[in-house]
Amino acid sequence: MSITVLPARHVLLAMRHVAALLGMLIVGAVLLVAIFAPHLAPHDPFAQDLNLRLVPPEWMDGGSALHPLGTDQLGRDYLSRLMYGARISMTIGIFTVITSGLIGITLGVLGGYFGGRVDDMVMFIVTCRLSIPLILVALTVVALIGSSLTVVILTLGLLLWERFAVVSRTTTMQVRNLDYIAAAQAAGASRVHILLREVLPNILTHLVVVATLEMALAILLEAALSFLGLGVPPPLPSWGLMIAEGKDYMFFSPWVIMVPGIALFVLVLGINLLGDGLRDLLGAARPQ
């Protein structure tokens, strides 16, 4: 039995790396497309051509090489819109994580380091945040303030910090009593110095994994908000908005929802694979 188990283990280990690598490739590719969209896109993503509405992708009947992924209901080139859409998703993902990370890590580190009343307060805030219905509140805020990329980022950033808080709190508690913290305290380091220079670098690896999870969630939520008409405003080519706009034509031209939907799915899957791989790698690096 041990003979068959051993190679299988190796295959699985390699598979895990393959998965993480695949995740990295997907995220890297989307990031490059997002950055270089103006150079890569074959057409202007906003240019309408009402004579070329709902042209199917190249490989389908009636498709043309001019529009590799077809056109939408206003005759806009779908590939170009998809590429510019990557910009929106990546911008939302990155800046939401920065905003929510700042909030969540601050709360979590404070609660975990000081404990007692401070910690009770932090946990109370986290509990309150969890009991608020996420999408509903996000929709309301965007509806009231007005939809724009910045508003969506700030709204999601203000809502998606609780996992950062929980993880940084737990990990801070773990390092709080370690020797090097005691040494820094004995050396007379200020609290701010200890939190920023001693605690934070040592919990950072765990937070990277949280960051990938939250980035994936933020991208999905932006798409959902835009789909419901209260996210990124048209004519911006948000993938969620593209699906919403294509919805009325999906029965006869299914690619209008399949193309942005698959893009969204692949990007989020890539981020999750990357996060899972990082968790394994960082977990393996840890002693115990």
């Binding site: 283990r9 999408i135 509903l136 509806a143 939907g261 799915f265």
Partner: protein, 305 residues
């Protein structure tokens, strides 16, 4: 144990109060609610009339206290859009959202528990990895897109299920499947972890030594041990599902609370919005409280905590 339960109940009450403030403050975010209600084409006079008619001209604390006191009595004011009491509107639609939520949770449990058990029994095997990968796929699926794909595939191509609405009971199946997707990864991981934990424990080894069959060991001893965290997370997931059903209700045109909220948000019907936020939050708080209490009763180790 009584101390624990009491503390937990007081905490829940405090959270409720905070949520009350948040759901009120939420609709005042724009600064002036009257301007939001009046819309972009309104004149200053229109705004002034609205402010007076909706009694928005009084100080905020007064408005809040009045709203909170009435809300505590079950009166959430009346809808600007329907010109009917908000409480009645919600009561009418809540059964649809609850049915959808419970359907989703049942589907999620039916899928995730067996998969979690199989993954745990073959820990580290290719099957285990495949199931874990499946969870990642589920996590990456945008719910609104999955809804549309299912509508095309199950509704239009195979004609198995109705495209939208819940005129018949099978109208709940497709939205239920989509809603289940959001909970399956978490429930499956938890079942898997709980089973792995249980299968490596001493009493399972004893059971094995006694010569019990694998099926009996897994189902009788292992599952009982793994069930508790699953039950409490299932309660939390149900809360999230009720809050998240807004997207799915919108796609499938299910006239539940989520649909009502979406409609109200798009049409600036804020008494409805703040009431729905509050009610969904209170349901969530109630569910987590129940789960915690159940755990305290079932697990003697927690009682002293």
């Amino acid at each position: 144990m009584l101390r624990f339960l009491l503390r937990r109940a007081v905490l829940a009450l405090l959270v409720c109060l905070t949520v009350l403030v948040i759901s009120f403050a939420l609709t005042r975010l724009s600064g002036d609610l009257a301007i939001s209600i009046a819309g972009p084409n309104a004149t200053a006079e229109d705004v002034a009339t609205i402010r007076k008619n909706y009694r928005l001209d009084r100080p905020l604390p007064v408005q809040f206290v009045e709203w909170a006191v009435h809300a505590a009595e079950g009166d959430f004011g009346s809808s600007y859009l329907y010109h009917a009491p908000v409480a009645g509107l919600i009561k009418e639609r809540l059964p649809i959202t609850l049915t959808l939520g419970v359907t989703g949770l049942l589907i999620a449990l039916i899928v995730s528990i067996p998969l979690g058990i199989i993954a745990a029994m073959r820990e580290g095997s290719a099957i285990d990895k495949a199931i874990t990968l499946l969870a990642l796929f589920g996590q990456a699926m945008p719910s609104f897109w999955l809804s549309l794909v299912l509508i095309i595939w199950l509704g239009l191509k195979l004609q198995l299920l109705p495209l939208s609405g819940v005129d018949t009971w099978d109208g709940y199946i497709m939205p239920g499947i989509v809603l289940a997707f959001s909970a399956i990864p978490a429930l499956m991981r938890l079942t898997r972890a709980g089973m792995i934990d249980a299968l490596s424990s001493d009493y399972i080894r004893t059971a094995r030594a006694k010569g019990l069959s694998t099926a009996k060991i897994v189902l009788k001893h292992g599952l009982r041990n793994a069930a508790m965290p699953v039950v409490s997370v299932a309660a939390v997931q149900l809360g999230f599902m009720l809050g998240g059903s807004i997207v799915i209700e919108a796609v499938f045109a299910l006239h539940g609370v989520g649909y009502l909220a979406w409609e109200s948000i798009s049409k600036n019907d804020f008494p409805v919005v703040q009431a729905v936020v509050l009610i969904l939050a209170i349901i969530y708080i109630g569910l987590t409280l129940t789960a915690d209490m159940m755990n305290a009763v079932l697990d003697p180790r927690l009682r002293t905590a």
